[in-house]
């Protein structure tokens, strides 16, 4: 039997962080997206062991401030796209500047400098990434997916999908399906 699962990344990451930090006996507060406040300042050795423990889960400590902020922008966009209920009401710029407490102009410039793309493009990329997962899953129709991801119409979603990937949603679905079948056949 095959079951499909959906992840809540925010809950997942918080849970793992808490478990690990608790296990290391640290006092801390999680401060929103991607920021942890430690009650005591750990020495170098301790910091290394925190980094090592977390790296098993693919969690990295970011040392440079700019990269850290860009990562927080990306995480906020992920939350926004994955359907943070409050978020749907805002546009991206208001949402990011409120959530991260910087002006949108500053965030937008920084993002473009560091990532080879713009915040607007990244949001599209994220939305299409979620759309891909939903298309593969086959539980929802394209119309339902368009609604869920806040597109004004299914035509708009299809056009943006084609522009981003060079493929139509149905060609994409067919390719991934055949790829899976081939991998299964090889095993």
């Amino acid at each position: 039997m095959i079951i499909n699962v959906k992840f809540n990344f925010n809950a997942l990451c918080k849970k793992i962080l808490c478990q690990q930090l608790d296990a290391m006996g640290l006092a801390y507060t999680l401060r929103g997206i991607g920021e942890i406040e430690l009650k005591t300042t750990p020495d170098k050795q301790q910091l290394l062991s925190i980094a090592e423990n977390l790296s098993d889960f693919g969690i990295e400590i970011i040392s440079d401030q700019q990269t850290a902020l860009v990562q927080r922008i990306k995480d906020a966009i992920t939350l926004l796209v994955n359907g943070d209920e409050d978020a749907q009401k805002y546009n991206v710029s208001t949402y990011l500047s409120e959530k991260l407490d910087y002006s949108y102009a500053y965030l937008s410039n920084l993002f473009s400098e560091v990532t080879h793309t713009s915040i607007e493009n990244f949001v599209i990329l994220k939305k299409i990434d979620v759309a891909k997962a939903l298309i593969i899953n086959k539980d929802l129709t394209l119309t339902e997916i368009a609604y869920k991801l806040n597109y004004s119409s299914v035509a708009h979603l299809s056009a943006q999908f084609k522009k981003t990937t060079g493929l139509t949603p149905s060609t994409f679905q067919k390719i991934i399906q055949k790829r899976k079948e081939r991998i299964l056949a090889q095993q």
């Binding site: 400098e113 060079g166 390719i175």
Partner: protein, 148 residues
């Protein structure tokens, strides 16, 4: 990061195409270090060397002597050290069947060799930009498909 240099590999038996690609990639804003190979076997021998820095993206011509692009693609996807590399097929063929077959065999990107230098530049730039997002963000790489 914008200052990070990307390692790129191209395997193509046509010398003119290699030179054109080299000129194009040097003109785009993203900093790259390009390694060129004249057939698939040269490329695969290089990738299997110990201690090399693996390229972020491999551009593969389909029709090459000794070992063609399709054989390389399959070897890359069946090798645990190379499996996660991004592979871009770079070919003159625009047959839907060829395109679909390369995607099913594990290619991430399919580029029809563009007719103009400007188009080639923008195609390479688009590939490198998008690939960078897949390398640095929580995007699902299994679903990374791009056709240009």
């Amino acid at each position: 990061m914008a200052l990070h240099t990307l390692n790129i590999a191209l395997a193509d038996d046509d010398e003119d195409d290699r030179l054109l690609f080299k000129d194009a990639i040097e003109e785009i804003k993203i900093k790259t270090k390009l390694s060129l190979f004249t057939n698939g076997k040269e490329l695969m021998d290089y990738l299997m060397l110990p201690n090399i820095i693996l390229p972020e993206v491999i551009f593969l011509d389909l029709n090459m002597p000794v070992k063609n692009g399709m054989e390389c693609l399959k070897e890359i996807r069946n090798n645990s050290k190379l499996r996660d590399l991004s592979v871009a097929i770079y070919s003159t063929s625009s047959s839907e069947k060829d395109i679909e077959e390369t995607f099913i065999s594990g290619a991430n990107i399919y580029i029809n060799k563009p007719n103009s230098f400007g188009d080639l530049k923008s195609a390479i730039e688009k590939v490198l930009q998008l690939n960078w997002q897949y390398q640095t963000s929580a995007l699902n790489r299994d679903n990374f498909l791009l056709r240009i």
